[in-house]
Symmetry: C2
Subunit: 144 residues, 2 copies
DNA sequence: GCACAAGTTGAAGTGAACTTCAAGTCAAGG
DNA sequence: CCTTGACTTGAAGTTCACTTCAACTTGTGC
C-alpha cells in the first residue's frame, strides 16, 4: 500500500494534477507532505476523487460536494457504507433533473406544432424551473 | 404595433435589460435607434428572445443559438413554421440528455448497494461518454 | 554526482453569460 | 422649462471550476 505522488494519483484517477491541487486548496482532499514538501496520497483518496467526479456528473457544485464530504467520519477511513449513504443522496436530485427535462420535452412536443413560442402562453419559454449547464460536459441542474 | 423600449422588452420577456444589450452586442437580437440613440424593438423580438431563453433551457450555448438563428430568413419576419423548424432541432438533444441522465441513474442503482465507487469497475465514476477525455483515455484503478 | 522529470508556489488567465458601475444623455409629464 | 426616470456607453466585476505560467525545488535513474 504505497503512497501515491500527485502524478500517480492523477493518472490513476483521471483527474488533472492542477485539479487535484485545486481540490486540496478547497479542502476536498488531503495529503501528507514529504520532507521535501511534496504531496503524498493514501489510496482512499482515489475513492474520494471518484466520489467528487461522480457527484459533479450528477450536477453538484464543489461546495455541495464539500458539504457532503464533511459528513464523513473524520476519525477513520470511510467505509463502503459511508460512501453508499452519500451516494443515496444523489438519487432524488437525479430524478428531479430527469423529470424536469421530461416536462420540457413534453411541452416541446405540444409547442412544436404551433410554433408559438409566445412568452405569455407558452410554458416552454416561460419556465417555472430552470435548467443550467455546469461543470465539464453537459450537466443539468435545477436552480433554487 | 408600437415599438418597445428596452425596458418594456425586458419587462415583457422577463430578460434583464443588461442581458438584452449583451445579446445585441453578440448579434442575437437587433434594434433600430431613435434620433437620441435609444434602442427600439419591434414585437417579433419578443419571440426571438423566447427562442433564445428556451434554447438555453435545452442546454444550448449562445453560440449555438446564434448559429441556429442565422438560418432564419433575413429578408422577412420569421413565421411560425420557421420557429417550429428550429425548435424541432431541440428534440434529439433533449432526448439524448434524458437518456444520459437515465443511464447515470440506473448505474447509480446498481452501485448504491455496493458503495464501490471503484474507478475500475464502477461506470458511475468512469463515464467515458460525457466528460471530454483529457490526456490518455480512461484510466483504471485496482482495488484498495 | 548529475541530468532531468516531476513536484512546489502564488498569481494570473480562461470562458460562459451575464451584472454592475460611472458618468453622462434622452424622453415624457407637470 | 424642468425634473425625473429611463436610457446610453465602455470597462470592469462576478462565479465556477479549473488551467497556465514562471521561477524555483525535489526525487530518481544511471
Amino acid at each position: 500500500m504505497r503512497e501515491l505522488t500527485i502524478g500517480e494519483l492523477s493518472e490513476r484517477s483521471g483527474v488533472a494534477t492542477s485539479a487535484i491541487r485545486y481540490y486540496e486548496d478547497r479542502g476536498l482532499v488531503r495529503s501528507r507532505r514529504t520532507t521535501g514538501n511534496q504531496r503524498r496520497y493514501e489510496s482512499p483518496m482515489l475513492r474520494r476523487l471518484a466520489f467528487i467526479r461522480t457527484s459533479q456528473r450528477v450536477g453538484l457544485s464543489l461546495e455541495e460536494i464539500e458539504q457532503a464530504l464533511a459528513t464523513l467520519p473524520g476519525n477513520r477511513t470511510p467505509t463502503k457504507a459511508d460512501w453508499s449513504r452519500l451516494s443515496r443522496g444523489w438519487r432524488p436530485r437525479l430524478d428531479a433533473q430527469i423529470a424536469q427535462l421530461e416536462r420540457l420535452r413534453d411541452t416541446l412536443d405540444s409547442c412544436i406544432g404551433c410554433g408559438c413560442l409566445s412568452l405569455k402562453r407558452c410554458s416552454l419559454s416561460n419556465p417555472g424551473d430552470v435548467v443550467a449547464p455546469r461543470g465539464p460536459g453537459p450537466v443539468f441542474l435545477d436552480g433554487h
